[in-house]
């Protein structure tokens, strides 16, 4: 795809997505919107989503494995974004929470496709399993009477849509250019630099092997240890990199390279626990008559 076409597509996609989302969002003052508006909004949002998906680079048609994983990528991406839009636009917080669970599950699917199986499971358990469920309880407790006016009214939807889609457009613009900038069609000295970043060669412990200067190599050898690599050291006969077993590799990375971080994250959880308990504690904090 040419740059111009990408640009136009990105702009159109983001624009129609913005229009769609705006139409789907609750009214600023909580007025009911006509059904046609919702239909139009849904259409525009779907169009925007479609345009956005077209922006993505399609997978290779062969081998079949890649095609299948590519197809799944589209399914999960569309799912995540669609559920995301619904989370944001639903008038009922219960639905919002459920759609959010959908987003999480779709994201977990994307994690799976990126060879992050443990994280996929972890995300679903933590988010969909714990956070969403508890929040559902809170919503149910808080809103037994049904949808409240503040759920049917959005705060400055126009400005919010403008903000986030301006951001999305800028981001998309940068990120689409990212892939284009690595295309190996450049010549001259830049090609040499680019080669290092060419797909497939920059991976693993040999990531920076073509790096100029021994100094950088020393730095990289220290910074990127074998424990932190996704790939097994031994490539065997094949040229392809072999991934380490997921949980074992991740565990190794967590407890060899990031031990202190993990421990301190644990203390963070403890602090949060105490904070939650104390904030929710209904007892009065001060004896009567005690002053500041």
């Amino acid at each position: 795809m040419t740059d111009d076409a990408t640009f136009t597509l990105a702009t159109l996609g983001v624009l129609s997505g913005a229009i769609g989302t705006y139409l789907l969002l609750p009214h600023r003052r909580g007025r009911a919107k006509a059904r046609t508006l919702y239909v139009a909004g849904g259409l525009f949002a779907a169009l925007g989503l479609l345009g956005f998906l077209l922006l993505l680079t399609p997978p290779a048609l062969s081998p079949l494995g890649e095609l299948v994983s590519g197809a799944f990528f589209y399914v999960f991406a569309a799912g995540a974004l669609g559920c995301g839009v619904m989370t944001v636009t639903s008038r009922n917080p219960v639905y919002s929470a459920l759609w959010f669970a959908g987003t999480v599950i779709a994201t977990a699917g994307l994690f799976l496709l990126a060879d992050a199986q443990f994280l996929a499971a972890g995300t679903v358990i933590v988010y969909a399993g714990a956070i969403v469920v508890t929040f559902l309880f809170v919503i149910m407790l808080a809103q037994m009477e049904g949808k409240a006016v503040y759920d049917r009214a959005a705060r400055t939807p126009g400005r919010a849509v403008f903000t986030s889609f301006l951001l999305l457009w800028s981001l998309a613009y940068c990120l689409v250019g990212l892939s284009g900038s690595y295309r190996p069609d450049a010549a001259g000295p830049e090609a040499a630099a680019e080669d290092r970043l060419h797909p497939g060669r920059e991976l693993g412990p040999h990531f920076f092997q073509e790096a100029t200067g021994a100094g950088v190599r020393v730095v990289l050898d220290k910074a990127l240890r074998p424990t932190s690599s996704l790939f097994a050291e031994d490539r065997g006969d094949s040229d392809a990199a072999i991934l380490k077993p997921n949980v074992a590799g991740l565990g190794e990375a967590l407890y060899a390279d990031h031990l202190v971080t993990v421990e301190l994250a644990g203390s963070l959880l403890f602090a949060a626990l105490i904070a939650a308990v104390l904030i929710a504690d209904p007892r009065p904090t001060r004896k009567r008559g005690e002053t500041a």
Partner: protein, 676 residues
Amino acid sequence: MGFFVDNIWLVPACPLVGGLFAGFVARRVKIDPFAPVAIGVGLAFLLSLAAYAAADPEKTVVVSRWIEAGSFVVPLEFRVDGLSTLMLSMVTFISFLVVVFAGGYMAGDPGYPRFFAEIGLFVFSMTGLVLSNNYVLTYAFWEGVGVCSYLLIGFWYAKPAAAAAAVKAFLVNRLGDIGFALAIFWLWTVVPNHDLSYQNVLADSTLQSLPEAARWGIPLLLFWAATAKSAQLPLYVWLPDAMEGPTPVSALIHAATMVTAGVYLIARSTPLIALSPEVQLLIATIGCLTALLAALIALTQNDLKRVMAYSTVSQLGYMFMALGSGVGSLARLAIVAGMFHLFTHAFFKALLFLASGSVMHSMGDVIDMRRFRGLRRRMPYTCWTFALGALALAGIFPTAGFWSKDEVLVALGAAPHASREIGFGMGWLYGPLYWLAMLTAFLTAFYTFRAFFMTFWGPEKLPGPDDPEAPPAPVAAHDHGHDHEDHAADAHGHGHHEIGLESPAIMTYPMIVLAAGALLVGLLFGPTGLFEGHLEHTLGFESLPAAGHAFTWTTPIVSTIVALAGIALAFVMYAEPSDLPARVAAAVRPLYRASLNKFHVDEIYDGTVMALLRGFTLGSRIFDVKVIGGLVQGVANVPWAAAKDVLAKYQNGLIQFYAAASALSVAVLLWLLLFT
């Protein structure tokens, strides 16, 4: 002698110790707070004399390494050269006399110890400012004197006018400080080794290597700073209001010493300023316009102290005129002229203020000249010392003012020629400035003697409650229901003694000493070359061109005639109140007879010249209040209004609005960075 010079830090230290002692300890150990400050300042004066004798352009004394932060090194270093010792002696001498005077004047005021503590602090800051050998150190003391001035103007803080005047003075001075700070930063970036000491900045090699923009930019910024501290157009507005402070403060800070700090700064930086004749012309022009404007305003003031305040502004304008005329070969002459006028002005203006204070003291805090008259019999010392001061201010031979004003005018008169020598095209503008300065000299003589005659001449009259000019009802500042001893009344609270007596000896002696100074210092230092000879010992002076100027008779003769004309006119108009012709005739019968047609002349004068003058004065007043005051007020109001009407609106307390505004800003910033 060497010991005193090496320990020159004692000069600021003595008043500081005295002030601290007066403020914190004196009451507890039952010592009059006046004593330690007087002793401290007196000691400082004696030490200054020692330093005066040993002035050397290269002599510096490092007291401590004050700031060392990376490449930013500011030692606490003092310079003992001609210029600084001159200022030092003058400052400490005048301060000593004023402290002695204040010992009588302030007696009985509830803030008595505080007053002397603040005076001690002021003398410390001022001597530090004069001595420091570094722009940053100068800046620090510059701020210090600003604070002391603020504290002393607001000394009677219960009086709303005093509090307002104090704030006004501080704000206007802060405005000027920005210019100084900018100049320092600029210098810091351009001088070698980031060394801001005078010997480095003012060295020839540094000056040669300055970038083009800095050659005029830094002098301009320094002058900006000077306009605020030395009350020049457009930042002079604070000085007349500063008269809300006690009279000794007005005499010391707002006439003789602090306000000359700007002049000192410009004189000190002359090698730098001489790089740009355009800035010099600007300095002279601003000085001249200030002098003229202030003199015009002074014509119609009825408040004796305000007359003196405007007169101070006007005379400071004279000094800047002198400094500004130092183009080309005149540089050295100009500094000598400017500093000489500063020097003599300190004597006679301090004298005039003290005399005014004496009058005020005696009249029970009444200072409106329409409410008293003919005091020369009751207050002979005050009268005759005032007369001497007035003569000096008018510039009558052989008083101090004659010699210094003459030098200023000579420098100004020679400036067009000197400009032509260095090929400065706009130099002809100095010609008109010279004649405007002459006009100012006439006005000066006139308003000074108007004040003199209105106060001391004519039939005797004392302020009384049935006076038509008296304020309708006494304003009481006591209505804030508490009786804390530290809160003074609106007038300074010394006991209400009988009105119309001569001041006590502790007040008259300093006036007599100053009067002697006003009479003699010009004669002693001017024609003898002592003054110029002393300034020779100043850093960077030898590199300035010195043109031997031919002595001409024109300027002194013209200026004397002009001044005499002013005095005569004042006499004709004000020596007698028109509603009491008989007594006036008795008092000055020969003169009265000689001008039989006076009534007629008066009418003509009133119809033409005075109307014109009134118009001018009114215009100046309007300019002062509306344009300048409005400008200052406006500048102050813009941020306030912008904050209130625009920025504060966004603090609406709504979390989502905050998040949305932040997100929008981030998105816009990202967009800006990506696509520009």
